[in-house]
């Protein structure tokens, strides 16, 4: 019933900063995958804070069995990075010559980088290195687009659209629609618009 995967397990990482809505979008993706007949194991690592810490979601997709909720080092297949330095962090741990990356170039300062102990790296160099470390990269200006649409929180749905537009997940747009409707009954329209914007941006 579920389509053959380009690799089994297919390992998707969604990383970002607490407060960006990355767990929520990972849940929508995870649910869509289960509805499409896949075996999914979806693990998370985050701190005790509601905002500001690093968050990573590991989604293991398989036709056969359940895998560990943590991806082994160097075994990432797709990275959805909602913040550039968090994306680099994931490449360092889970990257390999075949990894594909969708990245939001908008930096979010950490308490450490803004407090002066470390300086946030130069964004252009960081993005260039992310591209060098990935077999394919889609840079999606999700925060900027979300701000244009009226609310920066929409960046997560735009990035999910980016994943669909890049055509690297075994999911079609329509499997997202009903889940978005379920999750955002009152704000479905704007989220649907955000999803489409992400798809467009990945294709352009």
């Amino acid at each position: 019933m579920a389509k053959q995967l380009m690799k089994d397990p297919l390992n998707l990482i969604i990383s970002g900063v607490a407060g960006q809505g990355n767990v929520l979008i990972a849940m929508v993706i995870g649910n869509a995958l289960v509805e499409n007949g896949y075996q999914v194991m979806f693990g998370q690592t985050f701190g005790s804070n509601q905002r500001g810490g690093s968050v990573r979601n590991y989604i293991r997709i398989s036709n056969e069995t359940k895998y560990s909720p943590i991806i082994p080092q160097g075994h990432g297949d797709i990275i959805l990075g909602m913040e550039p330095i968090e994306t680099m962090r994931m490449l360092k741990e889970f990257g390999n010559p075949n990894v594909m990356t969708v990245v939001n170039p908008r930096a979010i300062m950490s308490i450490d980088s803004r407090g002066g102990t470390t300086e946030y790296p130069d964004i252009d160099k960081l993005l260039a290195d992310i591209e060098k470390l990935s077999s394919k990269t889609w840079v999606i200006n999700a925060t900027e687009e979300a701000q244009k649409m009226g609310n920066p929180i929409l960046a997560n749905v735009i990035l999910a659209g980016g994943l669909i537009g890049a055509n690297i997940l075994p999911l079609e747009k329509n499997s997202f629609e009903s889940l978005l409707q379920e999750r955002f009954p009152k704000a479905f329209e704007i989220n649907f618009k955000a999803l489409n914007r992400g798809i467009e941006l990945a294709k352009s």
């Binding site: 900063v17 607490a18 407060g19 995870g30 289960v34 075996q39 999914v40 194991m41 979806f42 693990g43 998370q44 985050f46 701190g47 005790s48 804070n49 509601q50 905002r51 500001g52 810490g53 690093s54 359940k66 895998y67 560990s68 909720p69 943590i70 082994p72 080092q73 160097g74 075994h75 330095i85 968090e86 680099m88 962090r89 360092k92 990257g95 390999n96 010559p97 908008r106 979010i108 300062m109 950490s110 308490i111 450490d112 980088s113 803004r114 407090g115 002066g116 470390t118 300086e119 946030y120 790296p121 160099k125 960081l126 060098k132 470390l133 925060t143 701000q147 920066p152 379920e182 999750r183």
Partner: protein, 637 residues
């Protein structure tokens, strides 16, 4: 995502381990559930409470874990299947009651779920293993190895509990409780329950020796039952070169490690689901299969020691096994495990090399700038009233000048220990520990101690464990200031209601227990303020410190900004007027840069502060701390 009570046997749903436990409890036909919020257990009770009315269940947030467990035990006495769920530390809170519970008949199915947090990432105060508690107190114990088992075991455990008439325990680790996986649903039973306590039965306690003897008999019965439990299984060749014995999330890591190393025909895995009492016959049948035995488990060497104990009683066992695990140093004794830890252990034992990725790829990181690994320490959320509160505490302590300090407690305000709370807090123990140690520090006047002591507590923690310390302080005339950081929610664990919020677990309105009224009833001085008003808060604190006699209470009341903003949107639009900002030359020592808000940033090129509108929550407090008036807040209408 769908409610956990969907009536669709055979359907596969993506469920979090905690939701799977809740579903298992529904499939077991529970009528009562009680808990206190604590990560990683927090999602179990809300999942049940969310469908409580439809399923004719009573669900409650108790004030603490002892009461949660006692309530569930009470309901079970009247024939209602009951669940109590809590984090590791909660089990320790409940231990006095728990010590007496297995010695007595449960009445009906009674299951305690304990969620442990290897790495202590989520609960912060430590990483403790609750499995030894089950062995210590003689409580049958199971641990799920995935989300499906989390559901199935919970249901099964209710049957065992009822059959043996004893409380049973399910231990879960973060990576099962908080991970999500496919769960195939089972049938839901009817929702009729009849509660009745039979007063004609003899009293439910006997002599300690008699009760103990009975308990040990029950444990032997449980052992027999566990020998054929569906949760223990073996995968691998008949004569493995290495036998891994494992449980919980480590089972998933172990399987993955063996697969990644392409050793499935050389390494066998015995996965245990019933951990206490150990199914000895089953274990014995696998112990002789391999000379090399590696035990993979999180936190304590619990299975490792149980298996060694068993082996000591099997003198005829041939070959004599060599044990690898925590004792040998092959598996770390602290922190969370993952597939790579297991890969490394196997690699060392078997001499098999393993490369996680292309070495050329690795080399690319060697020349990477150092700041590519810039850390992201979690801190207080932008807009949090605890930051404003701690700024005021810092200012008041400075004004007082006697090296006063804060004793912290468990909650978001634990950040008082770090840069976000300006390092004013110096101690951290358990729930209620802050006010507890303040009691001791506050009675040292005869030894010349005159440093002001401020005991911090949240509103939920106040009800959980601070009330006895407060009464103790009043009675024993201890000198400390109780700072109640009242944000009207249990925010760190996900905004659960508590006795002060006017709402119960099932979303109904509930009587409000006023912290202020409780404190006033003790006859102490009580001040109430809004911590966003830093100046006034600082003045009150300084005045309370000068008073220096007995317990004084300050309640800093301000609803959690995340909750408030979710409902009402931001209060202010805040920006920096670059023309007014003095930049590095600031005569006020760049006070805004010590405010440590992740939204208040510095533009180095143009030499001024700026506010990231994507992160700013719009509390507007930073506008009040800039003496130059360069931070502008405009009310959002």
């Amino acid at each position: 995502m769908p409610d956990i009570d969907i009536d669709a046997p055979g359907k596969s749903l993506l469920l979090m381990g905690n939701e799977a436990i809740a579903r298992g409890a529904l499939e077991a036909g529970i009528g009562f559930a009680s808990s206190y919020p604590g990560t990683p257990s927090s999602e179990i009770l809300p999942a049940i409470a969310g469908v409580a009315k439809k399923r004719n269940i009573y669900a409650q947030w108790a004030v603490n874990e002892t009461v949660a467990l006692e309530s569930a035990a009470g309901a079970a006495l009247a024939g209602i299947r009951s669940l109590a769920s809590m984090k590791q530390n909660g089990v320790q809170v409940a231990i006095d009651f728990l010590g007496t519970l297995p010695l007595r008949p449960a009445g009906s199915g009674l299951v305690l779920v304990s969620c442990d947090d290897p790495e202590g990432r989520n609960s912060g105060s430590g990483e403790m293993d609750t499995r030894p508690v089950a062995k210590w107190l003689d409580i049958p114990l199971l641990e799920p190895g995935d989300m499906q088992e989390a559901k199935d075991m919970t249901k099964w455990l209710f049957d065992v509990s009822e059959e043996l008439d004893i409380v049973c325990m399910l231990r879960c680790v973060s990576k099962i409780s908080h991970s999500r996986g496919n769960v195939v649903l089972g049938e839901l039973p009817g929702i009729e329950h009849k509660a009745y306590f039979d007063i004609k039965k003899p009293a439910r306690i006997g002599s300690p020796i008699g009760m103990h003897m009975q308990l040990l008999q029950k444990i032997e019965k449980a052992r027999e039952r566990f020998e054929s439990a569906p949760f223990n299984r073996y995968v691998g060749p008949d004569k493995p070169e290495l036998l891994i014995i494992t449980c919980g999330a480590s089972w998933l890591h172990s399987q993955e490690a063996v697969k990644a190393m392409e050793l499935t025909d050389r390494v066998g895995i015995l996965k245990l689901g019933t951990l206490y009492p150990l199914p000895e016959k089953l274990c014995e049948s696998y112990l002789g299969k391999s000379r090399n035995i590696l035990v993979v488990e999180e936190i304590a060497p619990f299975i490792e020691r149980s298996i060694m104990e068993l082996t000591a009683n099997l003198p005829a066992l041939e070959p004599r096994p060599i044990f690898y695990g925590k004792r040998s140093g092959h598996i770390k004794s602290y922190g969370e495990l993952n597939p790579d830890v297991v890969i490394e252990a196997i690699s060392k034992i078997m001499g098999v090399s393993y490369q996680s990725r292309d070495s050329d790829y690795d080399k690319q990181f060697e020349s990477a700038p150092e700041n590519y690994s810039v850390t992201r320490t979690g801190g207080i959320c932008p807009g949090c009233s605890h930051k404003a509160a701690h700024w005021a505490i810092k200012e008041a302590l400075k004004r007082d000048g006697r090296e006063g300090f804060e004793t912290s407690d468990i909650g978001c305000y634990t950040n008082g220990l770090g840069p976000d709370g300006f390092y004013v807090a110096k101690t951290l123990y358990c729930m209620g520990g802050g006010a507890g140690v303040a009691n001791g520090l506050g009675n040292l006047g005869q030894f010349g101690f005159n440093q002001p002591v401020l005991a911090a507590t949240g509103d939920s923690t106040f009800f959980h464990a601070v009330m006895p310390s407060l009464v103790n302080g009043v009675y024993n005339q201890s000198n400390f200031i109780l700072v109640v950081l009242d944000n009207s929610a249990t925010s760190m664990t996900g905004f659960q209601p508590h006795p002060g919020t006017g709402q119960n677990a099932m979303g109904e309105s509930a009587p409000i227990v006023s912290i202020e009224a409780v404190c006033r009833s003790l006859g102490v001085r009580v001040e109430v303020c809004d911590p966003y008003d830093i100046e006034k808060t600082t003045d009150i604190l300084a005045d309370l410190m000068a008073m220096e006699s007995g317990v004084r209470v300050i309640i800093m009341k301000r609803e959690c900004e995340l909750l408030r903003a979710r409902r009402d949107g931001p209060s202010y639009k805040v920006h920096v007027d670059a023309a007014l900002c003095l930049g590095e030359a600031c005569v006020y020592d760049n006070v805004c840069r010590t405010w440590h808000c992740t939204a208040l940033l510095w533009n180095k090129e143009e030499d001024h502060a700026w506010i990231d509108p994507v992160i700013c929550a719009g509390c507007g407090v930073c506008a009040d701390i800039c003496p130059q008036g360069a931070i502008i807040k405009e009310a959002v209408v």
